[in-house]
Symmetry: none
DNA sequence: AATGAATGAGAGTTCATTCAT
DNA sequence: CATGAATGAACTCTCATTCAT
């Protein structure tokens, strides 16, 4: 008990929240949000149940913050990234490589954003930075510049995203062994062919 | 009350199960499985809570049967469908149109199969008929016949599925107005360009 | 278990709510509302915890309904009662005897209304029938008719109520052995002398 | 933060306890003891949660000390006060005026003693100085001296106390505007008439 | 003395499931 | 087959209390 108290007292408060985030994220992806209990999270993280509530007001808020913060951050990154490039081709290339890098760096977080999208999307407000919106916008701008044939921007963005995300899904389910980074070239090529159609 | 009892007594037993299926499916898609209670389903269907247990042994079985029966049936349909065609091009065309028709005919069921895939996939056994498997197989056979360049069959199937399903997702979220059937031509074209890459 | 199930199934639904009311009322008075748990109530009543929630949406609602229904009913009774009499003297006499009879008939309920008055009074809206209001009104009318000297009606009502209720308090705390009904004559006499002052 | 620490360091330790008492008393009366959390008290007092435990071993002790110390002190005051007078009439007069002065000087404390009486009374031991006991005793002595008609001392004390306390209650609930001191004459008159009956 | 993050027992509440009718 | 009151395990969340600083 004294040893435990010692550990508790020594724990960096910053680390506690990160520990919760990490543990919750992993369990949410492994078992689903509803199937993960507060006890699951706290015991896996080695903290008391009450401690979680010092950092998040509820389980729902935890799930939402984990989603929205990372979702928004990723969208902002995409937005900043595509501005560094002039042609649609270069933007698409950079965007897809960013997706691939993200996946390989943190597959659990990527999976969470991918798989919980539907569940959390009810709360996504139109004014929140959103990867789909970013993609649709610069694809539309590329069309306007005549880089690719004109078509429905929404559909085009959906198809490009579908190509990228479904390879990710294939990897999440263990059907694909290669890293997404290793597959980036062929994903970019496929996406570009979709846009050129 | 007697009138109500009369109605209950007169209810076609077949219809009760269909009513449960329909109601549960809609609520599962609207709110998620965990967020839908037995009471939600029974009150929306106008039946007693206990009645549901005459048709399904548990809520979990209900969700699973709704998923697996339709998932399997769709896979079987795809399997039978592609056999009617000889070339990969024709198979892809027919398969994608089948997806589109399915979506337009029963968007709720389609959404359920699409969105609950992750949650239910833990229970999908490798021996169950599976749309992905069917697709991957006939794409592989098309490659073997030299109809398209050789590449990873798994990745190719994932990309094709991604193109189709993400347009569906776009429609589920109301970002696309047109019916999937109306979009079938461009989806087929995009998928084919992906395979030709 | 089968015996228990049998008892459960045989329980008159009307009786279940009455059982909850009775048990909760007793425990609330014995230990206080906050100190009484749902488990205390359900186990003392011999029902499951969930059963309580078929009848009341929350513990707070239970406490409030137990209070407000009886509080209002008693006020309505007092209101109807005093109308049967013409003189203030007769009204005071009847009112006090009604208090005494109520106490002797259901000391627990009386104690609840008396002791939880402060806690629940935050929720008592001015438009709810209220014993104090009734009393103040007919005392005021008696003054207007010249039956007693003019004075502040509110203070007069408070004093009369104080005389009655503090004898009840004395009895609740076991300091007085006689029944309130037996004491009614002297309470009436005291109250009347207060009004005549 | 350093400024705050400075302020904390400068705080007179005597003042901290008084601050806790004052804040707790106010919140206990406003919301009830059970409904007031340690955090409510500490944040309203501008101290840390742990600080409270430097002064009281528990919340229960805090509530009890706040009650018993003041309850006892008031009883002792009443006891000393009535000894200064010879006749029951004078004792009653002085006692009631003391109640009124107390109320007007510290209505919150008065309310606490009045309203939490029931909750805390379980812990009031018979040997503790007690206003009711004091009152009952000197009323009994007055009867023995033939100042008022013989009757049940307990009931007589309850009635007198009822007259006083219910006017206080009326004021606590905002139904009476005048100060209790301003009402003292009429309260004394009413109480005396009750005893003369 | 004062702090406040951490604790964890225990509270209120939910809801899938049962079963006598 | 249908009913729905009753069940109780299990959940989320609260909050008095501790203790290293």
């Amino acid at each position: 008990m004294s040893e435990h108290s010692l550990m508790v007292a020594m724990r960096d408060p910053k680390y506690t929240k990160e520990l919760i985030d990490e543990t919750a994220l992993r369990l949410f992806v492994e078992k689903g949000i509803a199937e993960t209990t507060i006890r699951d999270i706290s015991s896996a993280a080695g903290i008391a149940e009450g401690t979680l509530y010092r950092h998040y007001v509820s389980k729902e808020h935890l799930a939402w913050e984990l989603f929205s913060k990372n979702f928004t951050a990723f969208a902002v990154e995409l937005d900043q990234l595509h501005r560094k490039h002039d042609t649609l081709k270069a933007k698409i290339d950079a965007t897809i490589r960013h997706y691939c890098t993200f996946f390989d760096k943190d597959p659990i977080l990527f999976s969470y954003l991918l798989l919980e999208l539907h569940g959390q999307l009810r709360k996504v407000t139109p004014d929140m930075p959103n990867p789909v919106t970013v993609l649709r916008r610069f694809i539309g701008e590329g069309m306007a510049r005549g880089e690719i044939p004109r078509k429905d921007r929404e559909i085009a963005a959906a198809m490009v995203l579908g190509v990228v995300l479904h390879v990710a899904v294939s990897k999440v389910y263990g059907r694909t062994k290669q890293s997404l980074t290793a597959l980036a070239d062929s994903i970019v090529a496929a996406a570009w062919r979709v846009l050129e159609a």
